[in-house]
């Protein structure tokens, strides 16, 4: 069984590889190289089985707290390029999903995290499920 919680944050970003010139970045990333922002959705999917007594797979209040502190407080209404935890990350949706996995997996109960999905716009959706998947 999988349980998914949907969170929301708004942030600014731009796609830029610091090793490239401004011209090369503009060529590679097009208008995404310009500073802009999105209303992001972050979907955190956990796997497990419901407790036979409580019917709950995981304490959602605890998950909410973890996601709030580990991700949302750090990125909501900020420029993603200024977030220390994202230093060195080119802030594409797929790289954000991987980075958020990196902070959420160790903060949640072992083996609970199944997938992190970053929804950048209604047209772009990025999923990351760990190294081995």
């Amino acid at each position: 069984m999988e349980l998914t919680r949907v969170y929301h944050f708004s942030a600014a970003h731009r796609l830029e590889n610091p090793a490239l010139t401004a011209e090369d970045n503009a060529r590679r990333y097009g208008m995404c190289a310009r500073p802009h922002g999105h209303n992001y959705y972050l979907e955190v999917t956990m796997r497990g089985e419901p407790d036979p007594i409580t019917g709950m797979m995981i304490d959602l209040g605890r998950v909410d707290d973890v996601v709030q502190v580990a991700v949302l407080d750090r990125v909501d209404h900020r420029s993603l390029e200024d977030v220390p935890q994202l230093a060195g990350v080119i802030t594409t949706g797929e790289s954000l999903a991987q980075a958020f996995w990196g902070v959420l997996a160790p903060a949640l109960p072992a083996g609970a995290l199944a997938r992190v999905t970053v929804v950048e716009t209604a047209k772009n959706r990025f999923e990351y499920a760990g190294e081995e998947r």
């Binding site: 919680r5 419901p50 409580t54 019917g55 797979m57």
Partner: protein, 135 residues
């Protein structure tokens, strides 16, 4: 070639979380405000799978899915108190357990060859996917 078809349904139902045999204090300690009767507008996505019938071009007649889910799930749980339903007599009506109950009821009608997944949304921020198996 296997294809998957999903049909969306909606039902509104009341519930509260309480373990029979626990004291009020213990229930409130574990479930907090969820012990207070309240309700949700649930969304249910039912996914069926199978080969595409060359004659009809369909995996399954979604009209049949609509009829089965309507009679089995929606008629039973829409505008109902989930805690009063026999299916939840010994189960807290969490989203997880609702997914299990819906799966079991639909499996009996659609069969495991055709029923692939049920997704129960409690609200736009929480959903549970269940495809049968360990629990």
């Amino acid at each position: 070639m296997i294809a998957y078809s999903t049909r969306r349904f909606a039902f509104s139902a009341g519930h509260h979380y309480r373990v029979e045999g626990w004291s009020l204090e213990r229930n409130e300690g574990v479930f907090g405000r969820l012990t207070v009767p309240h309700g949700h507008n649930y969304t249910l996505d039912v996914t069926v799978r199978g080969p595409i019938d060359p004659e009809t071009g369909m995996v399954i007649d979604l009209g049949e899915v609509k009829a089965v889910v309507g009679e089995t799930i929606i008629d039973r749980f829409d505008h109902a108190d989930l805690n009063a339903d026999p299916a939840f007599r010994s189960r807290v009506p969490t989203t997880e357990n609702i997914a299990i109950v819906v799966w079991d009821l639909l499996l009996a009608k659609l069969g495991d060859e055709r029923l692939w997944q049920v997704r129960v949304w409690e609200d736009p921020t929480l959903y549970v996917d269940y495809r049968g198996g360990a629990r």
